[in-house]
């Protein structure tokens, strides 16, 4: 009986993997649908706006398509069914000259791509950016600065996933209160190994038994935020698919939090070691303070590396998978049979990559949390008495 119970989380995980896998086959399918639409010509303006590359003469541009999927957007394209584009318009929030402008991004769906004096750039290097009309279209705009606080696709995904995380973990917490002193059940038993993993193998082992507790809320939140967004980013359907953890602003915020917490909790020993690094010859510190400079740069590079690592890993994964999708259309444009042949190989590679990304999703969450914990541990370590 106990043996069965201990295998339950493993089985659930396998089922979960299978579901993810099934969703991936869906992603491929959705993508195929999406891009077969590139071939027929469309006359309507809004269609042209939404899919400018659907001009009959234009060739399929893999780089453009991939970048569109990886980058942020002012609306969420859910699916294309026939000639119908299922798109969720998202609110645009602009702060310009002390005034707040709030409207839906679908307002830009007109011939000039502008509304209330703002213009959404449909093409070019600043595609999907909003400018003040009349201002020079290269960011160096004259006049007051324009601040864009829009709920974009990624912001929307962040808010949605935050809400999901809130629901999941408050319900798990309730399960803990309900099952007080009993064996875990349901979602609780699926998440408990992860929580214990973060506590024992990340926090306790890097920060130490005495001080780990005050860092636990941050470490657990960051771990589950990253893993949840990583996994949802792999799901091709609506609530998923946004490249949240592959966005540099998102990883920047998380890395900045790690940096702030490290800096605040740094004790005397930590700062002394930075200014006067032990075990280094004196001439590296005086008269030119070479080591202190290196150490101070190190304070910044540590979170910087955290930011880049997560962003690069997740974005790279998305780009590779989308690259395999693009291969089908590139070869399909040469000949339909060739595209069909390539699709078999592409799909096989895509499934492989998605499985790899599943692993990466976990590993990156682990690495980010572990390194944050290590930095906290370094900042709070007590000097050893010699």
């Amino acid at each position: 009986m106990t043996a069965y119970k201990s295998h339950l989380p493993v089985r659930r995980f396998l089922v979960f993997c299978l579901v993810i896998l099934a969703l991936f086959s869906g992603r491929m399918f959705a993508s195929v649908q999406d891009h077969t639409m590139l071939v027929p010509a469309n006359d309507s303006v809004s269609e042209k706006f939404q899919k400018p590359e659907s001009n009959p003469g234009e060739k399929f541009n893999a780089g453009k398509m991939i970048m569109e999927h990886v980058l942020d957007n002012h609306e969420w394209h859910v699916a294309t069914i026939g000639n119908l584009h299922l798109t969720i318009p998202l609110p645009v929030i602009l702060l310009y000259d002390g005034k707040l402008y709030v409207f839906l991004s679908s307002r830009f769906h007109n011939e000039t791509h502008s509304y209330q004096g703002f213009k959404l750039d449909p093409e070019g290097p600043h595609k999907d950016k909003i400018f003040r009309e009349g201002a020079n279209e290269h960011l160096a705009a004259a006049g007051p600065a324009l601040y864009d606080f829009s709920i974009t696709k990624i912001v929307f995904a962040i808010l949605l996933n935050t809400f999901f995380l809130f629901l999941i973990f408050t319900s798990v917490a309730r399960a803990y209160t309900r099952n007080r002193g009993k064996a875990p059940s349901g979602m609780q038993s699926f998440l408990e190994p992860l929580i214990i993993f973060v506590r024992d193998d990340i926090a306790k082992s890097s920060i130490g038994e005495k001080k780990y507790e005050k860092f636990m809320p941050f470490l657990l939140t960051i771990f589950f935020f990253i893993i949840f967004n990583n996994l949802l980013g792999l799901v091709p359907f609506f609530p998923g698919g946004a490249n949240v953890t592959g966005n540099i602003a998102v990883t920047l915020v998380m890395a900045v939090f790690t940096f702030i917490i490290t800096t605040i909790s740094g004790n005397k020993h930590y700062w002394v070691d930075i200014v006067n690094t032990p075990g280094v010859p004196w001439w590296l510190k005086f008269p030119v303070p070479l080591m202190p400079i290196v150490e101070i740069i190190g304070i910044i590079t540590k979170p910087f590396v955290l930011m880049i690592r997560l962003f690069a890993n997740i974005t790279a994964g998305h780009i590779i998978v989308l690259g395999f999708v693009s291969l089908i259309f590139i070869f399909g444009a040469i000949s339909a049979a060739l595209g069909l042949g390539v699709s078999v190989v592409s799909v096989a590679f895509m499934i492989f990559m998605d499985l790899l990304e599943l692993l990466v999703a976990f590993i990156q969450a682990y690495v980010f949390t572990l390194l944050s914990a290590l930095y906290f541990g370094l900042a709070t370590i007590e000097p050893e008495h010699h």
Binding site: V155, V172, F225, N247
Partner: protein
């Protein structure tokens, strides 16, 4: 370039969402979860410890029980041995005493038989002497002329005399 340029709006919303998550989950999720986990772990730890202790105590108890049993057995054997010895001794004593008593009684009986016999003999002798004297007196009272008559008379007297 777009890819590595963090957007202001995104930073703002992400900071907001993340702070919300850290504080709300910290208060309503992580705190109770970690506390319950700790509680459960300590209770499991304590249960294991007390089980171990109980097992140790049982072992000790069993050992002392065995010891007690062994002691009781030994005591029983000792008591039985003692009892057997006492019984044997009592038996022996009783046998000896009985023998002595018996011989004493026999001795007494013998002595009283002898005495009785002697008394009877004396009495018999006295009786005989008395009878003889009576006879002699009767004989002497009659004439001793006729021997035949004498003889007859003696016979007659003898018939009369009965050793009562």
């Amino acid at each position: 370039m777009e890819l590595i340029t963090p957007g202001l709006g995104l930073i703002f919303w992400m900071t907001l969402a993340f702070l919300f998550l850290v504080f709300v989950l910290g208060k309503y999720a992580w705190k109770p979860i970690l506390q319950m986990l700790r509680e459960r772990e300590t209770s499991i730890h304590e249960a294991l410890n007390s089980a171990n202790q109980a097992r140790e105590e049982m072992k000790q108890l069993k050992f002392s029980n065995e010891q007690l049993l062994q002691e009781a057995k030994n005591e029983r054997d000792a008591i039985l041995n003692e009892a057997r010895k006492i019984r044997d001794r009592l038996f022996e004593e009783a046998r000896i005493k009985a023998g002595e008593e018996a011989s004493r009684i026999v001795e007494g009986a013998k002595a009283s038989i002898h005495n009785e016999k002697m008394a009877a003999m004396t009495e018999l002798k006295n009786q005989i002497a008395e009878s003889s004297l009576t006879l002699a007196k009767f004989i002497l009272q009659r004439e001793l002329s006729d021997p035949q008559k004498q003889e007859e008379y003696v016979q007659e007297l003898l018939k009369e005399v009965k050793f009562n």
